[in-house]
Subunit: 338 residues, 2 copies
């Protein structure tokens, strides 16, 4: 392992992203400096936000630099350490990027975190007990503020964020209804994740049709919604919101490629006195400890059973990522690197 | 004055509202029952929300009933009273509707309120020191939560809500930028109302052009916005919002007639982590006393100089109302009934 395999952003997408935007390269493993740690990655996380970074446009974050390793969350083990707090064999979470190994300074705030794999599998720290889980927690607790008995909906319900959202909302006494694509995912959402119902958006050609299905699944209307998708799903949900509904906006995956997706009926924000609020979980680090504690307990108690789709090997990361953008994954999308 | 002139909703608009939707009728003045009060209206308030009520569709309020007097806020004087708290000559605010006189029960909560016209002209209780003023106060204080030094924008800036919003935001140390239609209104917003700048949306054919003008008027971006209009104005403002911007949604006047107006870039809610929240001021009666006190002081101290457009006589109310929907009024639209 004297070299590191890396995937860099070679060129920016013109419209739809393709595998040709990426390039696999190999570089020598650097010699560690004082207080640095070398990590061998076991898993790389693939997430929709990466698509936004591939564009050279204004967003909440800097664009991914051309020619640099694609950013991404990773879990792995320490294989060399010049920092007193870390030793060989430690399991850690780092923003290691699309590569087989990475070097971090052990004192950089938030850059490296040791994790306990006694009750929680290592890969879960990229999903249910990691950034996606905390994302669900923040949207639910800080924006949706659900009360027991209320109806809560979430799009991309079978995914890492959606499944965590469901478990967190169920534990607060809510009726939880998922929205997902396909019968398999909907069955999983209800039978494995314990949602009260799940609506298959692929059965509906437009938002009005989807909205009718939501009416049947949510006979008391929708009090709070977690949006991972945008477009037709959000349009359909908005029609079913109750007065004073809250919508946490976490993702607009359908709009990353191509033309902007409008919101069809923004006047519903007024008519139903909605609060629609966007957020980025990395801006709320103060909430992470409480969120991770609750998520870890839900996993340990079997209340949250995340599902993973695992691609094998770094060279398959681009294709797995493009599949994720099209909803081909089922649960948290990972790439296994060892 | 043995009869009351009334304007009823005769039929519902098919698309654009017309004067033919209304009908003027005359009925006898009823004999008062115990604790009732008869009020002669001096002014009727015309407001955009009335257009929504004319449709037979789901909204935050019941539709205006066909054949009934159009609802509306009025100010006037008591001309007969069988209630101990009210005497002839008292100035009062009542939801009297589009008619020359009305009868209210003196004990109905919120139905009738005595006002002091020593420092505040009677008609202002329908504008700056009435529902529109409180609307501005609620949106600003409860949703926009401005900090000194922040940039605040408001559409329909020369209107009753907009002018109050400007004065309230200035008194909190904000940079206040209006959006209004036409040079006269923009000059008034800056020179009379004391806004820092005003952008004439009629000079711009689309939201991208308007957005560039907003960039010049708001060099530090937009931290909080009060939306009275919707459509192109909201699209343009959203592009200029800063991270964690707050948008209070009070009106979507441009969408009342005809087709729904989409929001072009809802993904900005995520990118800029916006909070977009709709509200109806009548649902927050607990805030009215504090709001009215502050608004009354601003008027008394000359910090808020509202402008009024006054139509003469009840029979002209429909035409004045249709003009209001097209932005023909300049300041608070009233109908003088005496």
């Amino acid at each position: 392992m004297s070299t590191i395999q890396k995937i860099i952003l070679d060129n920016r997408p013109q419209g739809v992203a393709t595998v040709d935007n990426f390039k696999l390269i190999e570089t020598p493993v650097p010699v560690l400096k004082d207080d640095e740690v070398l990590i061998r990655h076991h898993y790389l996380s693939l997430d929709p936000y990466m698509r936004g970074r591939m564009n050279d446009s204004k967003s909440y974050a800097q664009p991914q630099a051309l020619g640099e390793v694609m950013i991404g969350g990773t879990v792995g083990e320490v294989i060399q350490s010049l920092h007193a707090k870390f030793k060989t064999g430690d399991h850690v979470v780092v923003m290691g990027g699309w590569q087989t190994q990475s070097v971090v300074h052990g004192d950089t705030p938030g850059a490296i975190r040791k994790v306990d794999t006694t009750h929680v599998p290592l890969s879960y720290y990229l999903g249910a007990v990691g950034m996606p889980g905390v994302t669900a927690w923040y949207g639910l607790v800080r924006i949706m503020e659900p009360k027991a008995g209320e109806t809560v909906t979430v799009s991309a319900a079978s995914g890492a964020v959606g499944s965590a959202l469901g478990a967190l909302a169920k534990s607060r006494g809510c009726r939880v209804v998922g929205i997902a694509g396909g019968k398999d995912k909907c069955d999983y959402v209800v039978n494995e994740l314990g949602f009260d119902a799940c609506v298959d958006y692929k059965q509906h050609k437009d938002y009005l049709s989807l909205s009718k299905a939501l009416r049947d699944a949510c006979p008391n209307g929708i009090d709070a919604h977690f949006e991972n998708v945008g477009g037709m799903v959000l349009d359909a949900v908005m029609i079913r919101t109750n007065a004073f509904g809250r919508i946490a906006v976490c993702g607009m995956i359908a709009g990353y490629d191509g033309a902007p997706l409008p919101m069809t009926h923004p006047s519903l924000i007024l008519v139903n006195r909605l609060k629609v609020q966007g957020f980025i979980v990395s801006e709320h680090m103060e909430d992470w400890p409480a969120a991770l504690t609750e998520l870890s307990q839900l996993v340990t108690n079997g209340k949250l059973k995340p599902r993973e789709t695992i691609a094998q090997g770094l060279s398959n990361a681009p294709e797995a990522f493009l599949g994720l953008l099209k909803g081909k994954n089922f649960g948290k999308q990972l790439v296994k690197l060892i």
